[in-house]
């Protein structure tokens, strides 16, 4: 699946490039960036949640609890101005182009989602994180399997949010290719940019 990287400093892929098509998703084990349905982890019911735990940790026996982040529907935002800023990930303010709401990551709708609510645009709040049982995460439970390229854009946004590191998409993808190449437990289809690693 050839995916076009976002142009320039853009944060996000085209919506069609976010999710592995349902008929292929079974080949992809659960990874960082996969989307799961609502859950109550102690502060009320979440609309949905994203597995943000590092992929290479997920196969370790010692990992009993994994990190997840809260997902909201885009429609939960009070006005279209905020929704636009979250969708673009940037805003122009006084002739300056700035990241907007760096703690958020835009999620395109999952076209094949079995639950209708997930067929609409969403966003992750990277400030709202929690731990949940590792056993709760398996392919059948998954709403959407993030493509390898969309995972690169998620990691890139997290690097900016957590460490204020501003890296081009291609550089994060190069680092992820190196990680995949060194991961003996890597399973499922390998992105073409990580082949031979």
């Amino acid at each position: 699946m050839a995916i076009e990287p976002p142009a320039g400093d853009a944060w996000y892929l085209r919506a069609d490039d976010y999710w592995v098509p349902a008929e292929q998703a079974g080949e992809y084990p659960v990874r960082q960036g996969d989307l799961f349905k609502g859950v109550d982890l102690g502060d009320g019911e979440w609309f949905g949640h994203l597995l943000i735990h590092p992929t290479c940790e997920l196969s370790k026996r010692s990992v009993e609890r994994v990190q997840v982040a809260r997902v909201h529907p885009l429609s939960a935002l009070p006005d279209s101005k905020q929704a636009a800023a979250v969708t673009a990930g940037f805003e122009e303010k006084n002739l300056q182009v700035r990241p907007a709401f760096a703690h958020t990551f835009f999620l395109a709708p999952v076209p094949d989602a079995t639950i209708e609510a997930f067929r609409k645009p969403m966003f992750v709040d990277l400030r709202a994180v929690a731990l949940h049982d590792r056993t709760a995460y398996s392919s059948p439970e998954r709403i959407g399997a993030l493509t390898h390229d969309a995972r690169v854009s998620l990691i890139r946004r997290e690097l900016y949010f957590r460490y204020r590191l501003s890296l081009p998409f291609e550089e994060v993808r190069r680092l992820e290719a190196g990680r995949i190449g060194n991961d003996p437990t890597f399973a499922g289809p390998r992105p073409e940019w990580a082949e031979g690693g």
Partner: protein, 159 residues
């Protein structure tokens, strides 16, 4: 760290009074010219046969003029950087989050798919961070950056 710049003082510079003197006055009354004019914030145009040969400026006026030009030059670069995005947004009718478009009264209807498509294809360049400070240079090779000054010192923990 955010840097909040003071307002540009172009008006103040433009209003600097200018006194005209000739070469002879400058030569014979240099002390008075500096005392009465330059130290009082008055610029001096030095004439020869009713043509201005040059200007003498109070130091603060010169510094303010230089700073103003630098900042206007920077603003021009900002306008050049952001203009293609604003034009693309205005032309396509996509509601890009923009205070300039808002100030201009260009009100567009939010369509997440159109905006997603535009941002992915347009190639926006981030110029500042969330707080308005200049964006640090892109890290194009993180590994090199992290290990550029690697040393092999061992961590020694005393018991």
């Amino acid at each position: 760290m955010a840097t909040h710049e003071p307002p540009i003082r172009a008006g103040e510079i433009l209003e600097t009074p200018v006194e005209r003197i000739n070469h002879r006055t400058l030569k014979n009354e240099q002390g008075r010219v500096f005392r009465e004019y330059l130290r009082s914030g008055v610029a001096v145009a030095v004439e020869n046969n009713h043509e201005i040969d040059g200007y003498l400026l109070p130091p603060e006026t010169f510094e303010a003029a230089r700073e103003t030009l630098q900042r206007l030059n920077h603003q021009l670069a900002q306008i050049r950087a952001v203009l293609p995005l604003l034009l693309a947004a205005a032309r396509s009718g996509v509601a890009v989050p923009s205070s300039t478009l808002e100030d201009l009264g260009i009100d567009q209807v939010f369509d997440w798919r159109a905006l997603n498509e535009l941002q992915a294809r347009f190639g926006v360049e981030l110029t500042h961070d969330e707080d308005g400070a200049l964006m640090p240079p892109r890290i194009t090779n993180l590994r090199q950056e992290l290990f550029a000054e690697e040393d092999d010192a061992e961590l020694i923990i005393g018991d």
